[in-house]
Amino acid sequence: MSEHRVGAIEADVPEMVRQGGREAHAIGYTVAQIAVVLVFLALWQAAAYTGLIDPFFISSPVDIALKLESWVADGSLYHHMIVTLRESLIGWVIGSIAGTLIGFVLGRVEVIRRIFVPLLHLANTLPRVALAPLFIFWFGIGEPSKVILVITIVVFIMIFNTYSGVLTVGADHLITARLFGKSERKIWIEVIFPWCVPWIFAGLRLGLAWSLSGAVVGEFIAARAGIGYVIFNAASSLDNAGVLAGCVLLLAMAMVFFFGISAAEKRLLKWRPDTIG
């Protein structure tokens, strides 16, 4: 085609051009969220202080803070957090990689999919924490047994997410790729894999939340360290401030996980208008 310049288009200006006001709103909402949390903590503290609720059962924000302070002072906070962090992250990474690879194989090879998907669904209905005592028996009271437990949870999430992604690749995209003469390899790299990225991220997000609970439940059953171990011990000595202080630490870890994955997602999925961040 030659250098014919086509008339300008006024008819269709994209909608996203006018999004400037959103940032200001986002900050407003964050402030409101912090306020809600502070009010909740203040009411809780006031109720405990006035005797409206019994601090022995419910504890209070100040007691929890004092507990955390003592753990920081004696160095146990860092020690236990690192253990739980290591168990859940190692398990999450291994489980995610393995699950994604298996998911792609299932999505690609119909025979394997037909044989294994029903079996995998069946296996996935078993709550993995029920196997935790067995893992501890096999892999010991230390960290490996918790890592294994986390892997068995995360791997299924990633398998199902990835292969669902592969199976739903837009037919039009595949046809277009064929019409442009793309090889099978290029179709995987340029169409199927990018298509699956949002599915994989959804799995990673879900897997991260579950990896933490997997590690904690494992530590409940038998461990020498970790937040789950701390919570379990506190509960056995009726130290509710200790239980809740452990929960605060888990919450903090989950938040760090969440922000980390949101940041990665935002970078990789900037083409999606609905990317949560």
Partner: protein
């Protein structure tokens, strides 16, 4: 006509409906010879098998009976170097920018050349400044321009177009038709253009084929010899043009009624 670039002979086609599982007789019989550089519009009632016909020429589907030849050779599978195929549906890859979507069809070129060619074609369809926008940040009309640029940039000799402007609003559609006419008149590729819009068909084409209701056959054929270059807007207000639209419509109307019965 010198030796035709597309020859469709005795083509009959059945396909199995994926939902109901029943066999559908889509094309009863099609015979068509298309000259190189000819612009043919195909109109017909909804679901009459127009798209099936394009799929067969593209190599995406093989006809149940009969033969299809492109440049004298039987069609076996898609021919990316020879044929470009554009749909009404939005087929851009949402994770690629406009520029990168146009580059999608330019694998055979070295990267810098692919880039500059993609830029040039986005410029030709009037999308300067939108190269780095994602499809979701473009209006529907702009996305179809990107798709058009992607199809044209790959420089196929034959363009198959399945209602490419069908989902656009009336104004955007007229604009796209004018742009496409100008681009086409610059180098006259062979075009098979499926549409349900008679005005569009007659504005663009050298020849308009009217298909019957399913199973389709070619019911009538009109030569359109309004002079080129054509001005879509001026043409559409021409009395001779209006008379021709009425004439083709009377043919098509009976098929529409038959197709619905």
């Amino acid at each position: 006509m010198a030796s035709p670039i597309i020859e469709i002979e005795n083509v009959e086609h059945w396909f199995r409906d994926s939902r109901s599982g029943s066999l559908v007789h889509a094309v009863a019989r099609a015979d068509l010879a298309v000259g190189s550089g000819e612009f043919i519009s195909i109109v017909g009632p909804s679901g009459c098998g127009k798209t099936t016909l394009l799929n067969i020429v593209s190599g995406l589907a093989a006809p149940t009976r009969g033969s299809v030849k492109v440049k004298g050779l039987p069609v076996r599978g898609v021919q990316p170097d020879l044929i470009g195929y554009m749909f009404a549906r939005d087929t851009l890859l949402p994770w690629r920018t406009a520029l990168s979507n146009v580059e999608f069809g330019l694998d055979s070129l070295p990267r810098p050349e692919a880039r500059s060619r993609a830029e040039r074609f986005l410029h030709l369809v009037g999308l300067d400044g939108f190269e780095h926008n994602y499809p979701d940040q473009l209006s529907h009309g702009m996305r179809q321009r990107v798709a058009l640029a992607r199809t044209l940039a790959a420089s196929p000799e034959i363009l198959l177009m399945d209602e490419p402007f069908g989902a656009l609003d009336a104004q955007t559609k007229l604009l796209m038709e004018e742009e496409f006419l100008r681009l086409w008149e610059a180098d006259k590729k062979t075009v098979l253009f499926v549409t349900h819009d008679l005005v569009e068909a007659l504005t663009l084409a050298d020849r308009v084929l009217v298909l019957s209701a399913r199973p389709c056959r070619i019911k009538a054929e009109y030569k359109v010899d309004f002079p080129r270059p054509r001005d879509a807007e001026a043409l559409q207000s021409d009395p001779g043009f209006a008379a021709m639209v009425r004439q083709v419509w009377s043919d098509l109307k009976s098929e529409n009624i038959r197709g619905r019965a």
